[in-house]
């Protein structure tokens, strides 16, 4: 496995004699962070190199070492395949001395890493993956799920739209586990808030042509067409909806998993009016703006996505826990320490990590601006509502996580 390694605090080990006693508790005499995500494909803009940069920034802001032990960041591409991902993880843990894996978009890969990490008793900090199973039935004492999950997205977008009058829904659902989960969670929120689900149509994954499904959605006369899909499927359905005059005909689209980089790719002309939920936006407040500015300087002007922000915050909190604990060998103990300490970072503010590994913070409901409203590059969102931390995520009892009992 060829991974590129960035040595951030090289050769500091021997120079710092006074720190040596503590060093003994860090496996291999250092802390190695492995960023595992999509470097080349569908989710490369959402996670990719930006997540590596975010992790490096977290390490630099922390001072480059914990109790004298140097911190290294390494990364690899999982190509969105669970088998590739779990192979990398195994090799990282077994032979390359990696202590923690972060990011991991694509739910299927994240679930695989979740298992490998549990087996090897290391630490897994999820930012890129969406599935709420990571803190539900498949929850693990070695895993923290930071940025968002399907339940939070469905809850945010679903309830807000119903409350503003979008009370009849038709779903365009990608026909696989993730799409079904998204549809199920959103439909539950819609009915709970007094809305009605008129129907749903399942389309194959990576489907190029949505015309037929859009026509069925149009025929349903539902006010809202919920897009329970992701990536290229979402982008294609939004584009083709414009072609078939769906939005012009009075129906609205609700993207259930849309990131700022997708909006960037679609352009405001096509994406305007779309309602979506995120846990981070670069233009939220002074500290997010300051950090995003630093980030953009290293990324050719691209602002961070919520996933990349989540990587920064999660790594920062992990390093704080290591600093308090003085050891990184026992993954469970590290995660326990992370749960015991309240979180505080410039991007997500103050928060906590729940027993099931769920990080709690507010979620935000945004509407994509019209082209005329946008004042500059990446000025895409209007804040519509803030969902407080205690309402934003699935209640502990409903997740069926064995750790919560």
């Amino acid at each position: 496995m060829r991974t590129k390694t960035t040595l951030l605090a090289a050769a500091a080990v021997l120079a710092l004699g006074q720190a040596l006693p503590a060093l003994a508790d860090f496996t291999g005499g250092k802390v190695r962070i492995g960023v595992l995500n999509d470097q080349s494909s569908l989710y490369a803009d959402i996670t990719g190199r930006g997540s590596v940069v975010a992790a490096q920034m977290a390490v630099e802001d922390f001072g480059g070492k914990v109790k004298g032990a140097p911190i290294e960041v390494t990364f690899a591409d999982h190509q969105n395949k669970p088998d590739v991902g779990s192979n990398v993880a195994r090799q990282w843990y077994d032979t390359d001395g990696v202590d923690v894996i972060v990011d991991v978009p694509t739910s299927s890969v994240a679930l695989a890493i979740n298992e490998v990490t549990r087996e090897k008793n290391k630490v897994f900090l999820v930012s890129g993956a969406a599935t709420s199973d990571l803190t539900g039935a498949k929850c693990s004492p070695n895993t923290v799920h930071w940025t968002y999950d399907t339940w939070a997205l469905a809850n945010g977008t679903g309830s807000a739209i119903v409350q503003t009058g979008g009370d009849s829904w038709f779903f365009l659902t990608a026909d696989y586990a993730f799409g079904h989960a998204l549809e199920r969670d959103t439909a539950a929120v819609v009915t709970k808030n007094g809305g009605k689900v008129l129907g749903a149509v399942r389309h194959p994954l990576n489907n190029p042509d949505f015309s037929s499904y859009l026509l069925q959605a149009q025929g349903s006369k539902a006010k809202i067409i919920g897009l329970a899909n992701a990536g290229g499927d979402t982008i294609n359905s939004i584009k083709q909806a414009a072609e078939f005059g769906i939005v012009a005909g009075g129906q609205n689209l609700a993207g259930l998993l849309v990131f700022i980089s997708d909006v960037h790719g679609l352009g405001l002309q096509t994406a305007q009016g779309l309602i979506l939920t995120e846990s981070f936006y670069w233009d939220l407040n002074d500290s997010t703006r300051a950090w995003s500015k630093r980030f953009a300087e290293r990324m050719n002007g691209r602002v961070p996505t919520m996933v990349q922000a989540g990587v920064y915050a999660a790594v920062t909190h992990y390093l704080k826990a290591l600093d308090a604990l003085g050891a990184d060998g026992d993954g469970k103990a590290v995660v326990e320490k992370m749960k015991a300490m309240p979180t505080d970072d410039p991007l997500f503010g103050k928060g906590e990590i729940r027993k099931d590994g769920r990080k709690l913070h507010p979620m935000y409901l945004f509407e994509v601006k019209k082209p005329a409203e946008s004042k500059g590059p990446w000025d895409y969102y209007k804040l519509k509502a803030t969902i407080p931390a205690d309402k934003a995520f699935r209640p502990l009892a409903e997740g069926n996580c064995p750790l919560a009992q």
Binding site: M1, R2, T3, K4, Q39, S40, S41, A76, D77, Q79, K81, P82, D83, V84, S86, N87, V88, R90, Q91, D94, T95, T106, S107, S108, L111, A112, E115, T131, D175, Y176, A177, F178, R202, P204, L205
Partner: protein, 325 residues
């Protein structure tokens, strides 16, 4: 329409019933190398090579000895992976029964696909197997028991015969090695049996085999089913080793990869697919950091092999030493 790769003179020498002395020597060397390999190499990597080597050998049985190029062998590999995963995880079967069940599933599937596909020959055969495998891919993508995109994860390795804990990678390695050799020897015996002779006769000249009174369709179907079953053995074992069965295992790229392994090693050679699997798997491992450059390199190897290197590594070696390998 058969893939011919061995020079006629060498082929004539394969005629003897029980294989050849240098084959036995080759096997002894292979066994010795594999026994000591985990001292130097990462056992998980070696197990991957062994699983794919068995898969490639099973595939080679069909293309190299019957002349049928299947472009849908991922269907059998992947089906077995799902079957083994489901049996071990949901039904709680011990690993040996899970893998057996998986092999049986692939055999049944092979019987069905083979029954359809042997109605056409050559290029059509390749296209039909590819299309059938793609159909199965879409089915698995939607079927609830496969977990769709997520695949079946955290498959327990369990205890072999209820006694030996397979959680340790080295212990697992010995089991995989045994499975590999069992499959490999079965294929070897098949090729060198009277049944294998008829298969080769079909490859060389099917009308002639028919005129000699052989029901060639039945021979082809049996060979296809056997190849599917052994691909299943490889797939089922892989699922237990990596504790994962996913869509990658049934995707058409997997079918392409096994073709590449057999081609690189040498179609219709005994040891070729093993060498080919080792080359392709190493390539994937060492180039993984380059992401999709892996596919470009694989494509280039395909082109190079077809244009200039049709005998493959072992085929060329065999030509050098003047003996079939």
């Amino acid at each position: 329409m058969a893939v011919r790769s061995e020079p006629a003179a060498i082929r004539a020498a394969t005629g003897t019933g029980n294989g050849l002395r240098h084959h036995q020597l080759g096997m002894a060397l292979l066994a010795a190398a594999l026994v000591f390999a985990p001292l130097v190499l990462y056992p998980v990597f070696l197990m991957k090579v062994l699983c794919f080597a068995l898969f490639a050998c099973a595939f080679n049985l069909l293309v190299g000895y019957v002349g049928l190029l299947s472009f849908g062998h991922a269907a059998f590999f992947g089906t077995a992976a799902y079957a083994a995963g489901h049996a071990a995880k949901v039904w709680g079967l011990p690993p040996e029964l899970a893998v057996l069940f998986a092999t049986a599933c692939s055999a049944v599937l092979g019987l069905a696909f083979g029954w359809l596909a042997i109605r056409r020959q050559g290029i059509y055969f390749a296209m039909i197997t590819l299309a059938l495998a793609q159909m199965l891919y879409f089915f698995y993508l939607q079927a609830p028991f496969t977990g769709g995109e997520d695949g079946i994860q955290a498959i327990p390795r369990g205890r072999l015969f209820g006694l030996i804990d397979l959680a340790n990678d080295l212990v697992m390695y010995w089991v995989v090695l045994a499975v590999f050799f069992a499959g490999f020897l079965l294929i070897y015996r098949t090729i060198h049996s009277p049944f294998g002779q008829v298969l080769k006769a079909i490859r060389e000249n099917e009308p002639r085999a028919v005129s000699l009174g052989y029901d060639t369709d039945r021979y082809k179907l049996v060979a296809f089913t056997l190849s599917a079953a052994l691909s299943g053995l490889a797939g089922g074992t892989k699922a237990i080793v990596f504790r994962l069965a996913s869509l990658t295992d049934v995707h058409w790229t997997m079918s392409g990869e096994v073709v590449l392994m057999a081609l690189v090693g040498g179609l219709g050679t005994v040891f070729g697919p093993i060498v080919g699997a080792a080359v392709v798997v190493s390539l994937q491992n060492y180039l993984a950091g380059l992401g999709h450059w892996v596919t470009i390199v694989q494509g280039l190897i395909f082109v190079a092999c077809v244009l200039a290197f049709r005998r493959g590594i072992v085929g060329e070696l065999a030509r050098l030493v003047g003996k079939p390998l």
